[in-house]
Symmetry: C2
Subunit: 223 residues, 2 copies
Amino acid sequence: METQIGQIATLIGDPVRALILWTLLDGSAYSATELAISTNTSPQNISMHLSKLVQADLLVAEKQGRHRYYRFSRQEVAYAIEAIAHLIPNEKQKKMVSHQHHAAVAHCRTCYDHLAGKTGVAIADSLLKQRVIISKANNFELTSKGEKWLLQLGINLPEVRQQRRIFLRPCLDWTERRYHIAGALGAALLDLMLEGDWIRRTRHSRAVIITATGEKKIQEYFG
Amino acid sequence: METQIGQIATLIGDPVRALILWTLLDGSAYSATELAISTNTSPQNISMHLSKLVQADLLVAEKQGRHRYYRFSRQEVAYAIEAIAHLIPNEKQKKMVSHQHHAAVAHCRTCYDHLAGKTGVAIADSLLKQRVIISKANNFELTSKGEKWLLQLGINLPEVRQQRRIFLRPCLDWTERRYHIAGALGAALLDLMLEGDWIRRTRHSRAVIITATGEKKIQEYFG
DNA sequence: TTAATACTTCATTCTGAACTTAACTATGAA
DNA sequence: TTCATAGTTAAGTTCAGAATGAAGTATTAA
């Protein structure tokens, strides 16, 4: 028993693996390469670390073409990471990872650079309902009606389309277990909200705060 | 942030330290030598590990004569250990450390070889109230009234007194933050309850179950 | 087919941290 | 005092495991 606790703690303890887990704490799945970049290590090394985490059943891998996406195998993993985070001695850090933190993160947070959490999922639902986007073959697609709608909202669609990255893709929200909007369009929506002061980023956290303006605007546009 | 999570996880991850923490999970304080024996390592080594745990504010040390007693600095440490324990892959183990487990342990458990938890504290309170024991200079003392009372209960006092260990000492209950009865007398009380089938030990856990008989008897003798 | 990308596997190197040996301080007992 | 016990500190050694380099498989694109 205690040896197993030690094994798991050791697994979490490695700097690279801790960073992997911290990254995955936002609930989304990341490919091995993405994790290698964000942890600043080699593909071989990240592969080694990921396989150890999978073997211990902390992560699960999902194969998609030549990519492998990694995410938490279950909620308990996130809980454990948070429980450890609560032990960080620094006073300021402790407040940051307060008991409310997890709820906050789950409620409304930026996943990579797009809006996730309850709000993110609700927005995706609303856009699907308004037929701004439609779900097709495990993917999202923008409708012609949606194009007008987004332009009206103030999004420079041609510019967003010009970006190298994927324009629109669904991203699974871990706590909500439902999809929200990622890709260039997801990022553009987040930017719009930040610039219009609908929401504000909090320091040292992925959680975002919805402002009074935002409350109204979100209600207006997304219901 | 993530580096700090890693540091703490690494701290917990070492086999010796994991065993220390697992031992301390019962809520009582242990001396450095006691921990060295239970973890089967050298005094120098345990000292090194303990100092690391104290420096990280996972443990606190209390000096008492030439002894140093170590215990958790705060509840969060136990929570983190339990959260990690929940990640143990083995199915049987997972059930053992269920969500109810912590409550059970806190409610009624054997601390070393005496009764701790809510019940242990309640018994100590009752004995103080009945003036079977009195609190004197940070210690418990048996009254003459208490001697009769214990003999009537069926405890062989002379035999208990003959043991090498300390006859009666208060032991701080970590979750209840109050004292219960340890020492030879505490052990004798526990033995009596086990033999009389007032309580039963559970497998793989420090928690004990109060039987129907026990419920009645405890009510009768301790209120 | 060829080339490129995504990822893994294996053999090797190397470093950080646990443990050991030894010496030291502090409290208590004879 | 002297001896014993409890514990810490410092220097030296050892080893597990993380990182690297090289080579391999699988998928997609040209």
